[in-house]
């Protein structure tokens, strides 16, 4: 289909994550209108009930708001968007750290590794 979904997470959650990333990257901006439930369903190849669940969850998390008769919009509340940025950031860092610690790296090694990697990236560009 249009998109691939991994098997271990609910599909609605994977679409929700994708929309959150688009917002954090600025592809979708504060106050932008999101596609209708049916459009989202067709784009992602999922059923409209799943698409509806994505929007219900986004609204529950105060990332979007529904305007009666007009559709779903990204919130214009900058503090909400900032907290979304922070949440995604700490989620990724936490996952990375957990992964590295499981392999037995110390925090000092991890930090040094990141700095080293960054420097070599700068050097090559």
């Amino acid at each position: 289909m249009v998109e691939d979904f991994n098997s271990s997470q609910p599909i609605y959650y994977q679409i929700l994550q994708r929309i959150c990333r688009q917002i954090v990257r600025g592809e979708v901006q504060a106050g932008d209108k999101l596609p209708s439930v049916r459009e989202l369903a067709v784009q992602s190849g999922v059923n409209p009930n799943t698409a509806q669940r994505v929007y219900t969850e986004l609204e529950r998390l105060h990332i979007t708001e529904t305007r009666r008769g007009q559709g779903t919009f990204v919130t214009e509340d900058q503090s909400q968007l900032q907290s979304l940025r922070d949440t995604l950031k700490s989620e990724r860092i936490q996952a990375f750290l957990q992964d590295m610690r499981e392999m037995g790296y110390t925090d000092a090694e991890i930090v040094a590794g990141i700095q080293h990697h960054q420097q070599s990236e700068e050097g090559s560009s």
Binding site: E3, P10, I11, V42, N47, N49
Partner: protein, 233 residues
């Protein structure tokens, strides 16, 4: 209006020498897209044909929209997409739509014409000359355009190439009415999984499981194919 769109009460169906369904009971909720899955010969088609009133159970009762299946008023409750080729080859696509409109009062002609455009079918093409893919698309148009509470699709994707399967899946998502229940049998499980609300697994004439697809992912951490193979082992 009965609460469930479909109800099987202790249903058994025997063919000469073999029992296709054995004492099966379940109910299906309204407004869901449900995948009927299971290996070949497990009883999927039999279950669909019992709902469509094309077969009678040897024991038990099949209720569709609260009424016993197979009554003359059956067509008000459901539309059935057969896995066979059964349209008149001498009609054009446009004539086939008009024919359906004359047979079924609930046929939504405007929707059907809209779907033809979406699927790039020309109304003046002869049905007999259609490719397998376009024939499959046309059958989907004819079924989805019925305004009935239950749509039964028997292997709508089988034997079609990936491009055609994708447009058919998209046409279902774009055009079905969320108040309708869709029950479709298929082997292409992983392809239809994202569009399903529920999965119903039949094996050896028994109902093995009927569950929400998201629940399967959340609790078993598996997609449908994995879940299916664990369940029938």
């Amino acid at each position: 209006m009965s609460q469930h769109i479909v109800e099987f009460k202790n249903v058994s169906k025997k063919y000469p020498g073999r029992e296709a369904l054995h004492n099966v009971s379940f109910t299906l909720p309204r407004g869901k897209v449900i995948g009927l899955i299971g290996p070949n010969g497990s009883g999927k088609s039999t279950a669909l044909k019992l709902m469509a009133g094309l077969l009678r159970p040897n024991a038990g009762q099949v209720l569709v929209n609260g009424e016993i299946a197979g009554r003359p008023t059956q067509h008000q409750h459901m539309a059935f997409l057969s896995d066979r080729e059964e349209l008149y080859p001498f009609y054009t696509i446009g004539e086939t739509l008009a024919f359906y409109k004359s047979v079924y009062g609930d046929f939504d002609l405007a929707k059907a014409e809209d779907m033809l455009k979406f699927l790039q079918l020309a109304p003046d093409q002869k049905v007999g000359g259609l490719s397998k893919g376009n024939y499959g698309r046309l059958k989907m148009v004819l079924t989805i355009s019925r305004r009935v509470p239950l749509l039964l699709l028997d292997e709508p994707l089988s034997g079609l190439d990936p491009m055609v399967r994708q447009t058919i899946i998209q046409s279902i998502i774009s055009y079905f009415d969320p108040e309708q229940t869709i029950l479709l049998s298929t082997h292409e499980v992983s392809e239809i999984e994202p569009m399903l609300d529920m999965a119903m697994l039949i094996f050896n004439g028994q109902l093995v499981a009927l569950e929400d697809v998201e629940t399967i992912r959340e609790t078993h951490q598996q997609h449908l194919v994995g879940w299916m193979s664990t369940a029938v082992r």
